[in-house]
Structure formats: C-alpha cells, structure tokens
Symmetry: C2
Subunit: 341 residues, 2 copies
DNA sequence: CTGAAAGCGCTTACAG
DNA sequence: CTGAAAGCGCTTACAG
C-alpha cells in the first residue's frame, strides 16, 4: 500500500528544496538540465501526480462543473448528461451530477453546498417545485457571487443567464399542424400542469395551431396531468368520452400510455387514432407501434450548455465579464414513425 | 456582484485574528460569549460559508465519491446512479459521474485523473473493453494507494475489493426454468459475447437449466451478439430458421427487438413465441406487449454500493483497515407480464 | 480569552 | 541555478 507521494517527500529524498522540485516538474528553464532530469526521473518512478485539491486551492478553480437535473431516470436528462460529459472531458473538466428529485429544497441545498468553492459553474434544469414556487433566490445568489450558471430546457425569464432551449411552442405548433394536415379534426392534447414551463409552451403551440386553422379549441380535449402516477384513467376517459381521431402528447410517457389505453378500449393506433409524442427517447423508439415524435436532442443540448459554460469560465480569466448573456435554441424535428398514418 | 467572503476578511473587519474567527464560528468554548456572538452575527450577515476546497486540503478528504459507468443512456445504469446519489447525499457526499463509453482508455484516464486527491473513493462497473483486455492495473493501483473501490454488476474475480452483484447465473437459470415449466422445448438464447461477464454468467444459467431438465443444448439456438447496432438480422434469422417457441434474452434491448422481428415474420408474442428479458427497465414496461423480465434493482444496487463505500471511508478513520472485503448479492425476481403465456 | 505559528500540497515572485 | 518566503483558505496545538 504505497500512498501517493508529494513534492515535499521528493524534495527530502533528493535533498533539494520544494521549489526546485516544483519547477523541475513544470519544466522551468530556471532549473539546470541536470537537476531537472534527476527530479523528473525520480517523480516518474514514484508515479508522482500533483494533488488536485492543492491545485484547486491555489488556482481558485476546480475544473469541475455541476449539472443539476430533476430526475436521472428520464431518458432525456440522461442524454443531456452524456452531452455535457463529452464536452467537459474534452476540455479537462469533471462533471458532478446532482438530482433535485423535483424538489425545491434539494435543489437549494445542492447549490449552496457546492457554491463554496467545490465547483466552477452550474448547468441546471429547474425542478417542478421550483417552477411552481417561482423562487429562484438560490440561483440569483450564486450568479451574484460571480459563478456562471447555464440553464437548459426548464428555464425561467426571471433570471438573466445563458440558456439552452428548444422552441417548445413552435415544435408543438408544427406537430399539431402535421396532424391537421393529415385531415384530423378532433385532436386531443395530453399535457402537464401549467407551471411546468415546457408543458405550458407546448400547450400554447397546440392552441395556436388549432386557431391558425380555424379549428375550435375544445377544453374537453385538453387533459392536464399533474401526477406522473395514476394518470391512465384520465387518458382512458378522454378516449372513451370523446371521439378523438388524433392525440398530441407533450412527452413520451403520455404518448405510450395513450396507445395502451386506446388499445384496451378497442381502438388501434394508428388506424383509429394517430398519436404524436415529444422527446425522442427509447420508449418512442421501441414501443409497438413505434411513436412519431418531436425529437429533442439531449446530447446536443448538453453539449451546447457545457460549451457555453466552459467558454464563460475560460473567458473570465482574460478580460472582465461582458455580461452579455445569450439563449441558444436547439433545432427540433418531427420523426415520423408508426403511430401516425 | 458580492464575491464570497473569507475568514481573513472577517478577521480584518472585526479586528481580531483569523484563529479567533475560525474558533468562534465552530463554537469553540475557548472563545468568549461576546466575541463569538459578534463574529457569528457578522458571518451570518455576509453569508459566510467555509471554502470546501480549503477544508478538503486540510482534512485530506473531499466528501466526494465517483461512479464510473460504461454508458449513462442505459436505463439500468441511470437507476444505479440514482441509488448512489440518494445514499451519498444522506451522508453528506457528492457524486461525480464519469462515463467510460465502454472504452478502456477513457476508464483509465478518468481514474488516474481523479485518484489525485479529487475524490475519496470509486464505484465502478467495468467497460466492455476492459473486460475483454482483462487489464485491471488502473484499479489495482488505486486500491494500492489506499483508496477504496466498490465494483458493481460487471465485476471481476481478478480484483479484491467490495462488490455488489446479482446472481446472474441463478437468475438466468430461473428464467429458463420458468419457460421449461410452461412446456416449451425449443428455447433460444439471445446473449452477448462471452467476455462481458454478466452475459457469460447468464448464458451459463441458461445452459444449466436446460441440462438440468435433460433438454439438449442446441448451438443454433444460441445467438451471441457482439455489437449493439445492426443485430436485428441475427435475431430475425434465428426466428426464421428455427422453430423456436420461447426466447430468453439477456437484456431488454434484445428482448424488445425479438418481439419486433417476430412480428415482422408473422409470429405473435406471446401466442407463437414467449419471451423473457433481463433488467426491468422502461422498455420492458412500456413495450407492447409488455415484457416478462428478470428485475435487477439498480436503485438497490447503487444504494448498497454507496453504503459499502462510505462505511469503508468512515471506518478508515478510526481503526486500521481490516481488509475484509465482502460481496453483496442483490435479490432478483421474475416480473411476469404480457410477453409470456 | 486571544493570537501567532505550523501545516494541508502546491506555485511563483523575489533574493542570493 | 537554487531556495526561502508568501500565499490560496482553513484548522488546531500551543503560548501568552
């Protein structure tokens, strides 16, 4: 059990000063070829690696970024992490992952715990509870301390910072228009409660598309789902009581559940009902029938968010922060599969 | 933009020494009630929080653990992270997530990069490439440095450390036996190449079950899939050329693909072919028909792994390491759904 | 009760 | 060319 070796030990062994060792290892020209060689050989033999924590303290940066997400079980968020990881690693950064579990308190605790020097910046998608409370003091505080934050997907206009989003409203508009173009008249919407920012925006896009085509918005066809458990009967009721011929769902869970409920009620997808989902995840891909969906490229979003954060971190060093925040919109597209005619 | 305040600044403002400030904040009895109050009030007002990095350097521990997984996109690994997070947070630890992308080199780089003081310990599931190469020097080295490692799921006997696994062979045996009990005779196996430890063990369980029931093992019915892309035709060929009446797949991707390929060939699941998968993920749950599967509780595995790691970390402080490693086996069970009669 | 000093492991401006 | 000193932000044994 050979513990890690330090500069101090090397210095003692070779009978030189710590400064000399440090400089030798950093290939300083100040040091004679001879000692440099000697020190480097010794260090290599003992597999010396500088202690990261000491470097962090000295440099006042940790080369670690933190991503806070509501749930890792959601495939979309997992893909975002993957995108963040790629870019972070390429740039020599590590990624700390925190889960808020959709809880405001956990989000706050996580941020406060890490804002004390442990990391260089945050990438965050708001928890449901935070969006509901509209309390963003923890994020504002971190930004005020001079720590950069990039928000993605579930963002808020109440905070000024870099953001990565998709055009949820437009994507929903296009999906709905696609159904309208197919000739469907009774198009239902499965959405979340309004305080979830993306749910609300998607609902708006749906409504806009209907109005744009002079179709009337029937409240009975709009189902707002609060809980992600036990919502099946809401969907079943919708299908049973209304003669819907198409459904637009704001996530893939709602979409696949609609397929199953329709099937139970003797309706086939896409023959009797066409269905479009949102988020191109594995459920959509492997469901039978596979689901036509709005693709929301998580890897790309994560990569972009990481890039923005790291650029800000690295630019901070040179000149003064310019405080010009930007919002990047990642393209979406409709992936046609078997659940639509 | 109020930067974080330090002990030094507080000391200067209040015209006392740094030691006095530090002790006051830690409620040391050495300090007079009076100064203590004054310092604490001031610190609270300026929202003082000790710098984590400085504490890490001082205490020689970071309260951060790292989990290295092959892919985050796999639902199983995402659930493991979730389990690790829960336990880690409860104990005041943060979780760094690294992805090896099934690559040996990335695994090595990640470990070496973090073994220099950045974290207190590792939780790891081996990449495919590492299992193939059987080169574990990076892990051995870390352990020799005195940093605890807990392996899970894809483990190896070549390394002595704490491990969390399921009994892959037994679980596969039971799944196969289940099919045999239903009266099936031509039971096919969709598995991975042998160097993936869990694939190999599951294959062994399958073979054992057949032999145990005096059924012969037909090599034509065993499909070993190397690549996770473009393997559909292998499965199609199996179904087409052999009159299989049941299939046991070692993961859910293979299982759901089998359903789709069978369907294309005009065979229905479960009417014509019964299928059992492995890993109770979202694909199995939302597939149509939903898939009977061996549940492999990722949350539980992650939680257990984190618990073992943290216990070792905290016990290290007190007495000398006892070097008694243990292997925990997490229970599995067969979740019956629609893909089996 | 308060503070100077040493130390965690490193880097670097400054002396010699 | 080499090394002592200061410093990153903290804690704590030791003096006073």
């Amino acid at each position: 059990m050979r513990k890690k070796i330090t500069l101090k030990q090397i210095a003692r062994e070779l009978d030189v000063s710590i400064s000399t060792v440090s400089k030798s290892l950093r290939n300083s020209l100040e040091i004679s070829e001879d000692t440099r060689q000697k020190v480097q050989a010794f260090a290599k033999f003992y597999n010396y690696k500088p202690n990261n924590i000491a470097l962090s303290l000295k440099n006042k940066k940790t080369k670690t970024i933190c991503i806070i997400i509501p749930e890792i079980i959601h495939h979309f968020f997992a893909t975002v992490i993957s995108g963040v990881e790629n870019v972070a690693n390429e740039n020599g950064y590590n990624v700390l992952v925190c889960l808020s579990d959709e809880s405001f308190d956990k989000e706050v605790i996580n941020m406060e715990m890490l804002a004390n020097g442990s990391i260089d910046g945050f990438i965050i998608s708001l928890s449901k509870e935070t969006q509901q409370k509209k309390d963003f003091h923890h994020i504002v505080e971190v930004i005020n301390q001079g720590m950069p934050v990039v928000m993605f997907d579930r963002v808020t206009n109440d905070i000024l910072c870099d953001k990565v989003i998709i055009d949820d409203s437009l994507a929903a508009f296009n999906a709905t228009q696609f159904l309208i173009d197919k000739g469907f008249k009774k198009i239902a919407l499965l959405t979340t409660v309004d305080y979830v920012s993306v749910g609300k925006l998607r609902t708006e896009g749906y409504v806009k598309a209907l109005l744009n085509n002079e179709l009337q918005v029937d409240e009975d066809l709009i189902v707002k789902i609060e809980d992600t458990e036990n919502f099946e009967h809401n969907i079943a009721k919708l299908i049973q009581n209304n003669d819907v011929d198409a459904i637009f769902a704001v996530n893939e869970l709602f979409a696949v559940t609609a397929i199953k409920e329709a099937y139970k009620l003797g309706k086939k997808v896409p023959d009797d009902i066409s269905i479009i989902g949102f988020t191109d995840g594995i459920i959509s891909k492997y469901s039978s029938p596979s689901i036509t969906t709005v693709s929301q490229n998580g890897i790309k979003m994560g990569a972009k968010a990481a890039k923005m954060l790291i650029e800000r971190l690295e630019s901070e060093e040179e000149e003064q922060q310019d405080e010009q925040y930007s919002t990047e919109v990642i393209e979406t597209e409709l992936v046609e599969r078997e659940s639509t005619i």
